[in-house]
Symmetry: C2
Subunit: 608 residues, 2 copies
């Protein structure tokens, strides 16, 4: 199925996003305007991104000691993205934006992610960076840095990890010391000098924009020069690659930020990934070493500022994963329709004299395509749902914002991890459908698989997502998030229970939900969190499959009313597949969680 | 755990391979001689293979129009392999062999597969080729071709697939026409001229050996020039790259075999993979075009000859997959012991002031290591078990050969597919343990993952293995294979049921076996094979996990008696993990098989 048609079905028929027009912020919203955005994105992605996706994989970024060289197509593609108007699409009209809901922004961006995730990363990171500044920066910081980013003049990064501190942010050791007497009064924000090394910084160096705005987590030492322990000592700083005047003009003076090296990756090769040295003295901005940075938000609130954006960033990662999956699904569907091989098995055996048939006629190929459809279209639906929650959170009254916020907190670990795992599996199935051809670089599916493998690692590993879900989200607000999610699921179950065609699925979902609630209780019944959380990743998997089953049932309810047969029957088949072949897997994942199985916790390191 | 120690435990304590010395062929066998072979392999693999595995990935084979260029380390490594004596290790003493059992040969080879699967492929293919000739060739063919291969002078290939016929061998279109009046009397075998294109030919062109012996499946046209339909028309031919005299001397005359191109792959890059044109007229051997080939076996019996070697070839693929998994397991275990990050969760929370700990102390890291151990050491055990079946089949009396042959037939689809799927998953977990570092090419685990992805595709895809298992193996000999396997499993269950520590696992295995038997019946109860086989891949998965649970329980029984604590407790922990976290998965796979779910079979192509 065409991606545009699928998006239109999900946005208009399933989510009914036009209803957002009831809210002042989205008053101008209608189908036609959203469709125009989608069509525009589809066209630009097809012209400027998709044709060059292999090239940016093959021609990896090179560092010549001075500059990072990228293929020219990257600059062309990001330029086209900027001209599309998508950078500021969801921003206030006052900032040059279209006040497009996030759900429509995500739908539009999905075309670029599907066409070339590695090139799309540059604008995606820039918008995330700008959104953080818009939420936590001073008026000046917004006007200088966020504005330049939303206009596409400067690009942005997020600098969290360090070589010795990946998932463990409390061990960040980059220091930020107040800079000079006048530092506190700097119009761009309280000024510091930063020293430290940041690892895994995507888009950390390139020549695509006239400046790069690094957002850096660092710690301010106490009077004795000691860094505060834990994450509470983290503060957030704007560290531009080139210094900037108070009027927002980029100068030619380099800040003390130096590229220490490029990481050479398995996939996602079109995005530079860097080790950056801050304040090692390579440059001497304003006459002395140390990277100049301007604090965002209060001292010690760095992680809080970051967390504010984390749900959105994680939904963004999930979207990338889903669209890599979708790209592989489309490619393998196309291949299966063209490629002739073998003959269908029939009750009377095979007629070896007959013509070979397109492989899509073989049951096992259909299975692999249907699984991809269930994984990728299901993931996309979940992500659109989450994006709409963000819209409702931002535009609703206090009660709605709180309620919808809790739901979003619950769903975020799944929105990030589930597509990362299952749309990667979809990419593997896409290779399998291609047979030997899929294993060659003459077809795109091996690249999708390599690219997608990143998504279980960055922006909080799979393990971290599991700990977040079982360790924090299900217990937060006295379990209110989980209760709210159950209420949503029960509403779907009720509706589906009344429709003959989906009654069986409704009953299965109801049973699975009850099982999950009971497992959650058992998991926490022992009083030893280390035992509970030893199986957090399995809980994440079980929970994720339950959420996707719910999403599929809800989507199927909308599909029933579709006049378009392909859309209706395709969605119903994928829903059926998910309930019959996927949902039963949760049993094996949840059992160990429920009994607080300590096999893994207890195994002695020396016995591994 | 050290791979050598593990092999010694599995060979001597678990399989008790010395008992093979009861048989005339293996009369000289003892622990010391096997251990010497293993240590020799370990040393050569560590010195000549492992250090160059990344290089052969980066410096892919290049075709300059005349020759295929490989990095010099490849020639050096295969030379060292030849000098190790492993090429002929399992052959008759009369052929210069050591009459080493296959099980010990596989154990020795596992070091090379773990060190560099891509370089090991050259000798592995050569031995497989020679074994086929020894089984089906004439005395002259053995003396000329097999001998040169076992001496490492000539290398071998298998040429089955064609661009239009991958899994569907009945569609092979390469033609073999009798060559001249004297063709039938050629001392090297009935002589033909072959014309056609062969795809995916590993080691199809290189300069590593003075000649290349292609074994080619082709069809002999009838008087009207028509090729017989189906696989029954296939015959097998020896097609050497350079012509050979009747005395076995390689001449400088090129046969009409031309490299049409190299395939550029996701992984396994150190092995050339080729499209070969036979008989297109690029060369004119003996003055006319057409590739000269010598028939092996009778006309129309080509596939039968191939099938004879298929079990062994598939066990070989499984071994490669298992050892790629093992390489990743070892690398991630090593990394997890060195890398410090985070602090263990304790009931009182975390002490952020404390030092970071090696990540192996985190429960989720232990889980990922234990899963890898369960997958890879379990797969290796299964493969050694299968290799021992081959030894018993070859050296036993007729009754034993028949019985053991049936068991081997049953287990082969699992021995090939299970490691291909689950040791690939192990490679993914190895990446995950490494975090971002695992996603870079500075660590070996991403290459293992890429290399291993091939194994679900070649030598019969995953789907083909499922069809073979459910469509052929469980029904062959009126179900006798399945009954024999059940008897083996029940023996293990009985033994384990009497040991307190493994009683629970014994009961679980017993229940799972009963479930599988019942599902097998239900699957075939409908009378419509297309419905039964629509879920054959899921049956393969369920069956595979059952087999591995059995293997683990049997291995654990031996481990109980081990004085070495690391060995004993490590194996018991992996067994426990497998039964608690893996075996329960079979439920979700087998349900659709049992009810002959037709969701995938029935979905309309247009709705995908």
């Amino acid at each position: 199925m065409n991606h545009l048609s699928n998006l239109q079905f999900l946005l208009f028929d399933w989510l009914q996003v036009e209803k957002l027009a009831d809210r002042a912020r989205f008053a101008d919203l209608d189908r036609a305007s959203i469709t125009a955005v989608l069509e525009n994105c589809e066209r630009i992605a097809a012209r400027e991104f998709a044709p060059h996706n292999r090239q940016v994989d093959v021609e990896e970024p090179q560092f010549d000691g001075e500059r990072v060289q990228l293929p020219a197509v990257t600059a062309q593609a990001v330029r086209a993205y900027i001209e599309s108007g998508m950078l500021a699409a969801s921003q206030d009209a006052a900032l040059g934006g279209l006040q497009l809901p996030r759900v429509a922004e995500l739908a539009g961006n999905s075309f670029f992610a599907m066409a070339s995730i590695a090139m799309f990363a540059y604008p995606m990171l820039t918008v995330g960076n700008a959104n953080l500044l818009l939420a936590h920066g001073t008026a000046k910081q917004k006007d200088v840095f966020a504005r330049a980013e939303l206009e596409g003049r400067w690009f942005g990064t997020m600098c969290l990890s360090e070589p010795q501190a990946g998932s463990s942010l409390s061990d960040v050791a980059t220091r930020a010391q107040p800079d000079g007497e006048d530092g506190e009064q700097d119009p761009l924000g309280p000024r510091y000098r930063l020293r430290g090394n940041k690892m895994w910084i995507s888009a950390g160096e390139h020549e695509l924009s006239e400046n790069i705005v690094h957002l850096v987590l660092a710690k301010v030492p106490d009077a004795q020069g000691r860094l505060p322990a834990g994450v509470k000592g983290l503060s957030l700083f704007i560290v531009p690659k080139y210094l900037v005047t108070a009027e927002g003009v980029r100068t030619s003076e380099r800040n003390d930020v130096a590229l220490a090296g490029l990481n050479h990756k398995l996939g996602y090769r079109g995005t530079t990934n860097t080790l950056l040295n801050f304040g090692e003295g390579r440059y001497r901005p304003r006459g002395s070493e140390g990277a100049i940075g301007y604090r965002v938000g209060a001292e010690g609130e760095g992680l809080k500022c970051m967390f504010h954006m984390m749900n959105e960033a994680r939904v963004g990662v999930g979207m990338g994963a889903a669209m890599l999956g979708m790209a592989g699904y489309q490619a393998s569907l196309d291949y299966a329709q063209q490629r002739r091989q073998g003959r269908p098995l029939q009750s009377g055996g095979k007629d070896v004299g007959a013509q070979q048939v397109p492989i899509i006629q073989h049951a096992d190929i259909k299975r692999m395509l249907l699984a991809q459809k269930a994984y990728c279209e299901g993931a996309l639906a979940l992500l659109l749902y989450c994006a709409q929650l963000i819209d409702r959170q931002h535009s609703g009254n206090a009660e709605e914002a709180q309620r919808v916020g809790l739901l979003l907190e619950m769903l975020t670990p799944v929105a990030k991890s589930w597509p990362s795992q299952w749309c990667l599996e979809a990419n593997s199935l896409a290779i399998q459908v291609h047979g030997g051809y899929g294993y060659t670089r003459d077809f795109p599916v091996e690249q999708h698989w390599r690219d997608n493998r990143l998504n279980m690692i960055h922006e909080g590993t799979h393990g971290i997502q599991g700990l977040d879900l079982l360790g924090r989200k299900v217990t937060m607000a006295k379990g209110q998030g989980l209760r709210l999610l159950s209420v949503e699921m029960e509403a779907t179950i009720r509706k589906a229970g009344g429709r003959g065609q989906l009654r069986e699925e409704a009953a299965d979902l109801s049973a699975a939900l009850q099982q999950l609630l009971s497992v959650t209780q058992s998991a926490w019944a022992g009083g030893r969190p280390e035992e509970t959380l030893a199986n957090a990743t399995l809980y994440l998997q079980g929970f994720g499959h339950l959420v996707l089953a719910w999403i599929w049932l809800d989507v199927a309810l909308s599909a029933l009313a579709q006049a378009d047969e392909t859309m209706r029957e395709g969605k119903l088949a994928a829903c059926r597949y998910f309930f019959r072949y996927e949902l039963p897997k949760i049993e094996a994942w949840l059992q160990p969680v429920a009994r607080r199985d300590d096999t893994c916790l207890q195994v002695h390191e020396a016995h591994l």
